[in-house]
C-alpha cells in the first residue's frame, strides 16, 4: 500500500469517483426509474480531474460499469479544474465542467444528469421512514456499496485509515443483511484491499457480520445506533476474526467525515 496520502478534497473526490459513481450500477439494476431513464442507450462518460484521477463510466445493456482503460467511443468527456470542482457537482451545486462530445448527442448528457439526480434521491431521502421497504432496501444497498468501495480509497489515501489497516489482520470479511439479498465483502492481504457486492465467490469469509434487517444496517452505516449494544441485543451478529471486521468498520465509519450522504 504505497499510494500517496491525499488532502481532504482529493479523498472526497476519489470517494465520488470510485465509490459513489459505481453505485449507478446498483441503481440501474434495482430500480425501474433508473432503467426507464437509461432505456436502451449505450454511451460512455469520461470524467477527468486536472492533474488527477480519471474514470470512464460505460452505460451499456442496462448497466453502468467503471472502466479506466477503455478508450472513449460514443461518449462525453467532462473536465474538472480541481477535485473541489467535481465535489461541488456531486454535492448538487450548479457547476459547469468542460465538456467534449466525441459524437454530439446531448440526450446522453441529460440521461446521465437525470441518473445522478435519481442517485442523490435514493442516497439522501427526505424521510426514509415514510418510504416503502423496496426503497429502504435500495437505499441500504447503495450505502453498502459506497461504504465498501470507499473503504479502499480511505485505506490507501487517508492517514488514520492507512495506519489502522496496517494493524488489521488479513482475511476476507462479509457484511450481509439477514433474509435479504444484500451483502458486500472486502478482503485485505496486507498489500491490497479488494471489495465487492454480494457474497464472495472465490473464498470463504474469515469474519461474518450480519445485520438483522435493512433498517439496522442503515442505522449502523450511518452511525445512528450503538453497535456494541446492538451486538449484545443480537441485532448485529458477528462471528470469526472480529479484529478484521473492527479494522474495516473503523475505516467505513470514517467515510461520513468526507462524504455527506
Amino acid at each position: 500500500m504505497s499510494a500517496q496520502l491525499k488532502s481532504h478534497s482529493e479523498i472526497l473526490c476519489r470517494l465520488h469517483l470510485y465509490a459513489v459513481l459505481p453505485a449507478l450500477d446498483d441503481l440501474l439494476k434495482n430500480t425501474t426509474e433508473a432503467k426507464k431513464i437509461l432505456g436502451g442507450r449505450t454511451f460512455s462518460i469520461s470524467i477527468s480531474i486536472h492533474n488527477g484521477a480519471k474514470v470512464i463510466l460505460s452505460f451499456k445493456d442496462g448497466r453502468c460499469l467503471i472502466d479506466e482503460t477503455r478508450p472513449l467511443d460514443d461518449g462525453i468527456h467532462f473536465f474538472f479544474r480541481s477535485p473541489d470542482h467535481l465535489n461541488r457537482l456531486m454535492q448538487g451545486s450548479l457547476v459547469l465542467p468542460g465538456v467534449e462530445f466525441t459524437t454530439f448527442r446531448p440526450g446522453n448528457l441529460i440521461v446521465f444528469l437525470r441518473l445522478l439526480n435519481l442517485l442523490r434521491k435514493y442516497l439522501r431521502p427526505r424521510d426514509l421512514t415514510t418510504r416503502d421497504a423496496q426503497f429502504r432496501a435500495n437505499h441500504v444497498r447503495l450505502l453498502l456499496g459506497i461504504a465498501f468501495f470507499g473503504l479502499r480509497q480511505l485505506a490507501e489515501h487517508e492517514e488514520a485509515s492507512r495506519r489502522r489497516i496496517q494493524e488489521t489482520p488479513h482475511g476476507l470479511a462479509l457484511f450481509s443483511i439477514e433474509n435479504e439479498n444484500l451483502a458486500a465483502w472486502a478482503s485485505w492481504d496486507g498489500v491490497n484491499i479488494l471489495a465487492g457486492k454480494g457474497e464472495p465467490e472465490h473464498k470463504s469469509p474469515d469474519v461474518i457480520v450480519t445485520f438483522k434487517d435493512a433498517a439496522i444496517a442503515y442505522q449502523a452505516l450511518n452511525e445512528k445506533l450503538d453497535p456494541m449494544a446492538s451486538i449484545g441485543l443480537h441485532l448485529i451478529q458477528t462471528r470469526g476474526l472480529l479484529p478484521l471486521a473492527d479494522g474495516l468498520s473503523f475505516i467505513i465509519e470514517r467515510i461520513p467525515r468526507f462524504l455527506t450522504l
Binding site: V207, M228, I231, G232, L233, Q237, R239, L242, P243
Partner: protein, 401 residues
Amino acid sequence: MELFRRASKVIPGGIYGHASPAAGLPNAFPYYAERAKGCKYWDVDGREYLDFMCGYGTISLGYGHPAVEEAAAKQREKGSIFNHPSALMPELAETLTELIEFADWAVFGKNGSDMTTWAVQVAREFTGRKKILKIQGAYHGVDPWCTPGSGGIIEEDVAHIHPFPWNDLEAFQTLVARYRGEVAALIITPFHHPSFGDSEMPEEDFFQQIEKVCRKEEILLILDDIRAGFRLALEGSHTYFGFEPDIACYCKALGNGYNISATLGREYLRVSATKVFLTGSYWNDAVSMAASLICLREMQSAKLPSHLEKLGRKLIKGIGNEALGHGFKMRFSGPPAMPFMRFADEKNFFQLQRFCALAATEGVFLHPHHNWFLSAAHTAIDIDHAIEAASRAFALLAKEQ
C-alpha cells in the same frame, strides 16, 4: 437479556470494555454475574460455570478467599479512605520491595493503566527524552498513548510511540539507531499475549539482548507485568525469564479481586518518581492494601506459580488429548499457567468460538479470544471436570460438522 436491554438504554454499549458481549460470544456467554466462590461463578440466571478467566486475571487465589476476605473485612470496619494513607501503605511497599529484588521503592494505583502511564512519564522525566518503544499489538492499558481503541485519539497522542514486532531484535535495534538519544523507555510484557492470537514466548537471549541495548543506550526498561505478575514467579516475571527491568508494573493478581496496582522501581529513579504527579480519589484505599498484603502472603504459601503451571499443564494435555480423540488438533501457546488455545489449522476462530460456546453450555467458561487464567482455588478434580466437559463439547462439535 432484559437486564442488558435496560442497560443498553442507560449505558453506552450496554456493557463496555473487555466484558462487552461483543468481545466474547453474545449468543453463548452470560452477560452478568451474580456471585462467585473458589473457581466457580454463577450468572444472574443461576447458571454455574467452572471459571478459566478468573475475572480476567484479577482472581489469583480464588473468589472469596477466606484469609483475604477476613483481612479486608477487618480493615473495612476501621475504614477504607481517610484524609491520609493508612499504615498499610508503607507496609505493602516494604513487602513488595523485599519480594521483588531489583526494586527499591513502590507506589500504588488502582488499575494497570494508572501504572503503565505513570511509569512512562517517570522514564521521560528521568531521561529527558520523548520516545517510547513498545511491541506491536501489545496491550498496556486504555490511556491515549497505548489504547487499542481509536475513538478520541489524535495523531499527536502516538507521535512518539514506536512499535516493533515481538522477538524482532533487529527491528528493535533499528528503532534504537534511528532515534538514538531520543528513546526514554521500552515498555514490554514478559511474554506476548495479544487477543485473537497465539501467545509468544521470548526467544532465547531476547530479553538479555534487549537489556544490554537498553543499558548501553540509557533507555529505561519498563516491565508491564500487569497480566502475568505473580503467576509465573512470585518475585516478578523478569526472574522467570532472567533479566532485570528498571521499573515494573503490577495489578491483576495483586489484590485477589480488590482493586490495587503497583509500580516498583530502582533507587536512581526515586527523584524522578517524586516529580511525576500521582494521585487518585481512591488510591490510598486501605481495604485493598490490607487484602493485597494477605494475598501476597497466601500466594507464597500456596506456591502459586508452580500450582498454576502444574494444573495448566494438566488442562492443556487433557483438552489436547480429548480433541485428538474427536478428530481435532489443538494448538496451545504461552506459559501453561496462562494458556491460549486455538484449533491448530484455523485462523479465523469460527470453530473455536463454537467450541467455547458448547463448553459454556457444559458449564465451563473458556474464552476463545483471550489467554486463560487459573487460580490457587482450582484443583486437579476441577481440571478433570473441565476436560470431561471439553470432551463433550468436542463430541457435539464433531457431530455438527
